[in-house]
């Protein structure tokens, strides 16, 4: 789950990481009041969960409260990569001498947490990783003992920090690492981490992504969820316990298992079709789950035909067939449907489908070709 900059800022402040004074506004007059309170030039920043807001005009410097109000007026309601800006953060402007990068991630290859730093802050770190990977330094935290101060100092020295900055960077690294662990994050980054013209370190922009699998033990994080970050169908899918990702094609897919669901999309594309979604309905495929999945698929107006690809494992195919038939009784679907059904008791399952007038096949490639044909008609 992605959270907003202002939410991530609140979190890292609890770990004693210095940030500019700031507050959040949803109407321009609030932005003016915040600027009046801060008594300084401010930066008005769009709060959206996509990158590239600066280039899109979603970040503006304001010298006076009146300018802040005008900037907020321009940014609020603006569309950035299809997302409407509903909130701005109004933050005290920082006098920048240098911009650094500090990030914490899970390093899958090393199977532990990595802390990364770079003297090239304020730009897209993935771009730095591509163009000048030697400008990124990395330290692996011990899985049990965590990040040691000496590791943070080594990063700081490699980034060219010295004196008081060396000590401050170590404290900030330790804080960000701690925040990452305690929040069950999958990403925590400060970019830029600014060296001010009076020699202090300030976290000017913060980004955090939280591990969806750990949200069950952070009930309070549910309040941080931005409903606009998910489309309606994705939200419904999540609440039903499905993995659903909306795409822009014409073939609705309903598959059991994530790997098979991805492979189904791949086969559809390979034969010239376009998947409307990724949907893993998981094990079981009982009628109520299939019915719920049908509702999700047919709610998408782009869907012209539906492909069910079920490989029965523990789930028996005759049960799946009964589930599909019951679901269609509950949610009438006028779209053409192709069912591919294999696995335990597949003959019984396909016989049941045939009785109900549903075409089925055992080959995934044939099923894909059939559904592509039907989506074209």
């Amino acid at each position: 789950m992605r959270i907003h900059e202002y939410q991530a800022r609140e979190i890292i402040r609890r770990y004693n990481i210095p940030t500019p004074s700031a507050d959040v506004a949803s109407i321009p007059s609030e932005a003016r009041k915040i600027a009046e309170r801060l008594r300084a030039p401010v930066v008005v920043k769009a709060q959206v969960l996509v990158g590239g807001r600066g280039k899109a005009g979603g970040v503006k410097l304001a010298q006076t409260p009146r300018e802040a109000e005008a900037a907020a007026g321009a940014i609020l309601g603006m569309e950035i990569k299809g997302i409407t800006v509903e909130k701005v953060m109004v933050a005290e402007a920082t006098k920048i001498a240098r911009e650094l990068y500090l990030g914490v991630v899970v390093d899958r290859r090393a199977r532990t947490v990595a802390v990364m730093g770079s003297p090239e802050g304020g730009v897209d770190i993935e771009e730095v990783a591509r163009s000048s990977p030697e400008r990124i330094v990395k330290a692996h935290a011990h899985p049990m003992l965590g990040l040691f101060d000496y590791q943070a100092r080594e990063l700081a020295l490699a980034m060219g920090l010295d004196g008081r900055l060396l000590r401050d960077f170590t404290l900030i690294s330790r804080g960000l690492y701690q925040a990452f662990i305690e929040c069950d994050a999958s990403l925590a980054e400060i970019n830029p981490l600014v060296v001010t013209d009076d020699g202090k370190l300030v976290a000017v922009d913060t980004k955090m992504v939280l591990d969806d699998n750990a949200l069950f033990r952070h009930k309070d994080f549910e309040a941080l969820r931005d409903p606009s970050d998910e489309d309606e169908a994705e939200r419904m899918g999540r609440e039903l316990g499905f993995s659903y990702v909306r795409l822009d094609g014409s073939i609705g897919c309903m598959v059991n298992g994530a790997g098979l669901a991805m492979a189904t999309m791949d086969v559809i594309e390979l034969y010239g079709g376009s998947p409307a979604n990724f949907l893993d309905i998981g094990g079981g495929a009982r009628s109520e789950r299939v019915a719920a999945a049908f509702r999700l698929l047919i709610a998408d107006p782009g869907v012209k035909a539906v492909l069910l690809n079920i490989f029965g494992g523990i789930t028996r195919c005759d049960e799946v067939a009964k589930g599909i038939i019951a679901a269609l009784r509950e949610v009438p679907c006028a779209l053409p449907i192709v069912v591919r059904l294999v696995g335990t008791n597949e003959a019984e399952g396909r016989a049941l489908l045939a009785q109900a007038g549903l075409a089925s096949t055992t080959s995934m490639v044939d099923a894909a070709k059939m559904v592509i044909e039907k989506a074209r008609d």
Binding site: R108, I125, R130, M144, S243, A258, G259, I314
Partner: protein, 271 residues
Amino acid sequence: MLDYGTNVVAGVTPGRKGETALGVPVFNGVAEAVRETAANTSIIYVPAFAAPDAIVEAVDAGISLIVCITEGIPTLEMVRVYSYVRQGGARLIGPNCPGLISPGKCKVGIMPAHIHRPGGIGVISRSGTLTYEVVLELTVRGFGQSTCVGIGGDPIIGSSFVDVLGLFEKDAATGAVVMIGEIGGSDEESAAEFIATSLSKPVFGFIAGQSAPPGKRMGHAGAIISGGSGGAADKVAALTAAGVRMASTPTEIGELVQRWGESEDARSERI
């Protein structure tokens, strides 16, 4: 598993000691079960919040092979647990996997056993049902399997492609290997390096998620293209460069294996 002939000697459910389940005695804890039955393998199905505890309990009880089916364990929990498993000298398969099967011998998992046949192809995969798909393609073409291992779809898993490929290299029963990867992480790239330098057997591959958009998690916690890395094209390129014969659909895996099986070099080492 009982139906398949797997020697299941004990079940563990705290507070249910003395009961039996399908004729198998139930114990309160893993250490006690190991003491009384000499079990050497543990399969874990408990919910995500309890699974890390179950894995550590198995390590401490001296279990040497731990198979964790459970999906949804927090990633940072697995970072700690993985490290503990390694220190304890145990081997962990999963989490978020279907388990493993050596057809005709033993099954420790939840896969449909009837699609498998004993034979010489080793199968390794990050997925569940997609593995069944590929196994069926092999079986209908007359290619049985030595062992099929689902390593799991999470970002941090107990055994990687490289770990299991090393075992297949040493396994006399395995004549060729099928590996099924997917988007996310760089485990397939590591596997490509290993295959190029240390694997003498032919390898066939498929990568799921070639049509997946970046930045979206495709069902598995580990299946996400992030920061321009983890995409299918890079993985296919790395594996192809390492000499792996790559298929563009699961069906094509069966066809590639069949073509190889009909060729001379396979016949010379009859599998």
